[in-house]
Symmetry: C2
C-alpha cells in the first residue's frame, strides 16, 4: 500500500476533508477510538459531502500497521468521480452506461472498466456503499482505462435509475432468471443503461423492478456461473455489433 | 501452496513418474543440482511422457522453502489432461474448441474456462510450454469449471491445428489487426476452433497463417486493450447467439 493511496491520522484526514481537493473513497474509523471535537468535525464534513465513513474493528487496520494512523484512515481514489447530474446535463445520443450493483472484486471492476472503454460506453455508475471503489488495484487491472471513461458515484442506485428514466434513458438489467435473451433487445437508436449485479447476489430486486428490460445470457451448459466481467463483455459487445451492423 | 499441489525431492518425483497416475504440469530442477542416475532417470521418463522439465535458478524455489525439496519439484495438475487424438476420435457436430496461445495469467485462464463451460464449448487446448497450466489458482478462479470441460494439452499448437484441419474443423484466430469483425463469420453448421492469443503478444504468426479466418473485435474507442477472457467472452457468445437464433 503506497502512501499516496491513504491519508492517516486524525489531523491529516481532517485537513484533507477541509481542503476538499482529493477524492476520498471511504474513511475507516476504529471502534476503539475516543470521540472528540476533531472526530466529530470529520464526521460532519464527511456527511455533508456524502463521503462514506465506517466504524470498524481494529483488525481492519492491520494492513496499515506501518503507519501512525491513530485509528483513522481515509482511502484515496486515483480518479475524480463524476456527478450524475453533470453527466446527464451533457447531450447523449445512442449512448450507453453501465451500472454496477455490488461488485466486490477489484480485478473484476478493473476488467469491466477496460471492456467498457473498448466498447465505447459513455460512463460507469457505482454506488458509494456495498461496491468496490476505484482503488490502486482497480487502476492497475484496468490497464489505465480508469482515465478514459467517466466513473459516476452515487449514494443511491435506485435514485440514479429514476434520474436516468426521467432523462429518457432505457434501463436494461442482466439477471440469470430473465425470460428474454440479451440479444433479443434492440439497443440501437436509444440511450440505455445496463445494470450488472454482484458476483453472487445478482441485481437487487428494487433495481430489477425499475428496469425496462431484464435479460439473461443463455447458458449452453448447466453451469450458471459466468464471471461478471465476462458476462458484461458478452452483452456490451452485442450492443456494439448491433450498432455497427446498421 | 498446499502439499497436494507439488511433489518434492528426487525420490518422490521419480516414484511419481514411475507410478504415472498423477498428472504433472511441469518439473522444476535447480541449476545447482548435481546430475546422477536418479536425475537422469527422471529426465528420461519425463521426456518419454512429454512432461516439461526446466532447469531454473535456485530463486525459483523460494516459494517452496518450507519443503525439503533438494532442488527438484514436480507441479501437479488438479485434472487429467485429455489427448487430442482421443478427443478427435469422438463424434463432433457443430462443436467448438478454444485454443489458448500463451496465456500467462492464472486468473485469466480460470475465467476463460468458466466462460467456455457456460457457452457450451467442447474443449480447451493449451500448449505444454509458454502457457499457464491448470493449477490450484486456475481451479479456484474457474469456480470448479475445470471439472466440466476437457482440457487438452499438446506439445505443439501448430501440429494440433493441423490435426484439427485434417479432421474438418475450421480454425478462427482472434487478432487485433484483422480486417474482418468476429461477428461477420458464420459459426453455424461447422466444427470450429477459436484461437485466442497471449495477453500482450497475441496469436503467434505460425498459427495466424494456419487459420481459416482471422477476426477482430471492433473497438469503439482508441483503447485497444481488452482483457483476453473478456475478448473471448464477446466472441464465443456471438457464436452461441448465432446458433440459438436459427
Amino acid at each position: 500500500m503506497q502512501d499516496n493511496n491513504i491519508i492517516f491520522g486524525k489531523n491529516a484526514v481532517l485537513e484533507a476533508l477541509i481542503a476538499g481537493d482529493r477524492e476520498i473513497n471511504k474513511i475507516l474509523i476504529s471502534k476503539n477510538i475516543h470521540s472528540d471535537t476533531k472526530l466529530n468535525k470529520i464526521k460532519d464534513i464527511a456527511k455533508e459531502n456524502g463521503i462514506v465513513f465506517q466504524f470498524v474493528a481494529k483488525e481492519k487496520f492491520l494492513p496499515y500497521a506501518e503507519y501512525n494512523h491513530q485509528g483513522i484512515i481515509a482511502q484515496i481514489s486515483p480518479i475524480k468521480y463524476i456527478d450524475i447530474d453533470d453527466f446527464l446535463e451533457e447531450k447523449h445520443e445512442n449512448s450507453s452506461l453501465v451500472i454496477l450493483d455490488g461488485i466486490e472484486d477489484s480485478h473484476n471492476l478493473g476488467a469491466i472498466i477496460r471492456t467498457c472503454v473498448c466498447a465505447g460506453v459513455s460512463g460507469i455508475i457505482i454506488p458509494s456503499r456495498r461496491n468496490v471503489q476505484v482503488n490502486a488495484t482497480v487502476e492497475k487491472t484496468s490497464a489505465g482505462a480508469i482515465n478514459h471513461i467517466p466513473i459516476i458515484k452515487v449514494n443511491s442506485l435506485v435514485n440514479a435509475v429514476q434520474k436516468l428514466k426521467n432523462s429518457d434513458w432505457w434501463v436494461v438489467a442482466a439477471d440469470a432468471n430473465a425470460k428474454d435473451n440479451y440479444f433479443d433487445v434492440d439497443y440501437k437508436n436509444m440511450n440505455f443503461a445496463l445494470i450488472m449485479g454482484a458476483e453472487h447476489a445478482g441485481v437487487s430486486k428494487s433495481l430489477l423492478k425499475a428496469s425496462d428490460f431484464i435479460v439473461k445470457i443463455p447458458m449452453l451448459k448447466e453451469f450458471n456461473s459466468l464471471n461478471v466481467s465476462n458476462a458484461l463483455s458478452a452483452i456490451i459487445f452485442e450492443t456494439v455489433r448491433q450498432k455497427l451492423k446498421n
